[in-house]
């Protein structure tokens, strides 16, 4: 078995629109990682706490947001695309 760390070539960016703000992330990023990095709460809990992703594997639903108009999308499952619109709760 070989495990090697590949040298990363310059990765182009893609632009997301998160709550009407333009956010630029490296191509191939998952949307939840972009949200976490910007510090935007992905949802407000039923008692009003700001929440971010927990499991990052599609289980906890903490990262669910509206993506291109589709509600309750687990953003840890979604790779950022140019012009993608994300609305957090």
């Amino acid at each position: 078995m070989t495990r090697s760390v590949s040298t990363q070539p310059e990765i182009p960016n893609v632009d997301l629109i998160i709550n009407d703000h333009l956010v630029s992330v490296p191509s191939g990023s998952i949307v939840a990682a972009a949200l976490l990095h910007t510090g935007i709460a992905i949802r407000e809990s039923v008692s009003g706490e700001p929440r971010g992703p927990l499991c990052a594997m599609g289980i906890c639903m903490e990262c669910a947001a509206i993506v291109n108009g589709v509600p309750r999308v687990r953003t840890c499952r979604v790779i950022a695309q140019q012009g993608m619109k994300v609305v957090t709760g």
Binding site: A33, G39, V46, G52, A64
Partner: protein
């Protein structure tokens, strides 16, 4: 509706091995996964880590005519031998003659004060985020919980420039040392461990240590750690935490497979208690990559009418390793005391421990407090309440994930072939 000889749910190592083995012997195979691409949690972000076994299976799958259904979640079992899967835009019914469940495991999360702050994540969760583009270079990271994943993730994050301020393992030194001794019988695992430790050599590794509280205003700012009773606070950007792994049992439960001691009960051919339903990988015992590959291969061969007996010995050995893991990294009872009356146990519905103290069962808690009734359907708080209160969540009802009304409401296409 398309009907396949074999449907495999979960495209991690077990599912990939199962699908490719079945297809190699002429079965029509459909491989379903939540993610866009095969690889599962361990091989996610394959452009960073290259594993020959992964590339080999990828090639085998693309050459074999296996039908891949990515970004697809199984939500229900609307008729005998039919799965309903939901995609981002719609749903589909898929029929099967035999099914292999390879849905893997998730991290066990136990509540403590501050665990709902942004920046507190699973150990594997944090790694997945980093693989998914989260910048980690120079970030201050604390890892805590239990199990070998702590070291593996410390190594991966350190390689990417994270500052690992500490690795806090709740298991006692005696248990960890005993586990290390058992590892001598598994040279491959021992080698992996040594590689991980070397990569994260600057990070302090402490046993008998756990986080007692996370602090911050909206975002995580620091954590308080208890190490063999000595308490200190560490400022950090991210806390990765998780107490070993628990299997994903929603689909086997939906299909009414027998569960024994927390795992799907399987025969030597990976068959469950339900005819035609097989299970491979972490759902039968959390034992890692080799076990998953081996069990997947066996299940795939059996479902294609072949023998898998040449692999039984190897599989049984890996299954013994899984038992060592469970024993060494079982959460200690002291962790229950961390949960204050105000600590949320169910984070979907914000149910504090106080509300649960008077409950007698998982079912009563669900009905009276909404614990486990939120979007994750008890996937996070279920294992937590099992640990805290000894409750058992035995049943899974469709939809096993939140689904659109249009997905649930539509009747199944009638087809004679499915019965």
């Amino acid at each position: 509706m398309r009907i396949f000889d074999v449907v495999v749910v979960g495209a991690g190592p077990a599912g990939m091995a199962a699908a490719s083995a079945a297809a190699r012997h002429g079965a029509s195979v459909c491989l379903i996964d939540d993610n866009a691409k095969p690889g599962g949690q361990i091989w996610r972000g394959n452009d960073i880590y290259r594993d020959d076994r992964f590339t080999g299976l990828q090639e085998a799958l693309s050459d074999s005519g296996v039908v891949l259904r990515g970004e697809s979640s199984v939500v229900a079992h609307p008729a005998a031998k039919v799965l309903r899967i939901e995609t981002l835009t719609g749903f589909e019914d898929i029929g099967y003659r035999r099914i292999i469940i390879a849905t893997g495991a998730r991290e066990r999360f136990l509540p403590f004060p501050g665990w709902t702050l942004q920046g507190v994540m699973g150990v594997g969760g944090l790694q997945a985020m980093v693989k998914g583009g989260l910048p980690i270079e120079g970030k201050r990271v604390v890892l805590s919980g239990s199990g070998p994943l702590l070291l593996a993730v410390a190594a991966a994050l350190a390689t990417k420039g994270a500052r690992i301020l500490g690795i806090f393992e709740q298991a006692s030194a005696a248990r960890v040392i005993n586990f290390g001794v058992q590892l001598l019988r598994f040279p491959g695992k021992l080698r992996d461990g040594a590689v991980y430790r070397a990569a994260a050599r600057r990070a302090p590794y402490r046993t008998g240590a756990w986080i007692i509280e996370a602090h911050g205003d909206r975002l995580l700012q620091s954590v308080t750690v208890s190490t063999n009773g000595v308490v200190r606070t560490i400022e950090c950007d991210y806390l990765g935490y998780g107490f070993h792994l628990v299997p994903n049992l929603e689909l086997p439960r939906l299909l009414q497979c027998q569960i024994r001691s927390g795992y799907v009960d399987v025969s030597e051919t990976q068959g469950t208690s339900v005819p035609g339903v097989y299970c491979a990988g972490e759902s039968t015992g959390v034992g890692g990559l080799e076990k998953a590959l081996c069990e997947g291969e066996i299940a795939g061969l059996i479902c294609a009418g072949q023998s898998g007996s040449h692999l039984y010995k190897r599989r049984d050995r890996q299954a013994r390793f899984a038992k060592h893991l469970d024993r060494a990294f079982a959460p200690r009872p002291e962790l229950k005391k961390l949960v204050t009356p105000d600590t949320f146990v169910c984070r979907c519905e914000d149910v504090p421990r106080r509300a649960l103290d008077a409950m007698h069962s998982w079912r009563e808690a669900k009905l009276q407090t909404r614990c486990g009734m939120g979007p994750c359907q008890g996937r996070i708080c279920g294992p937590a309440t099992e640990f805290l209160f000894g409750w058992n969540s035995e049943h899974a009802r469709p939809p096993v994930l939140p689904a659109r009304v249009s997905t649930i409401a539509c009747p199944v296409e009638v087809s004679r072939d499915t019965v």
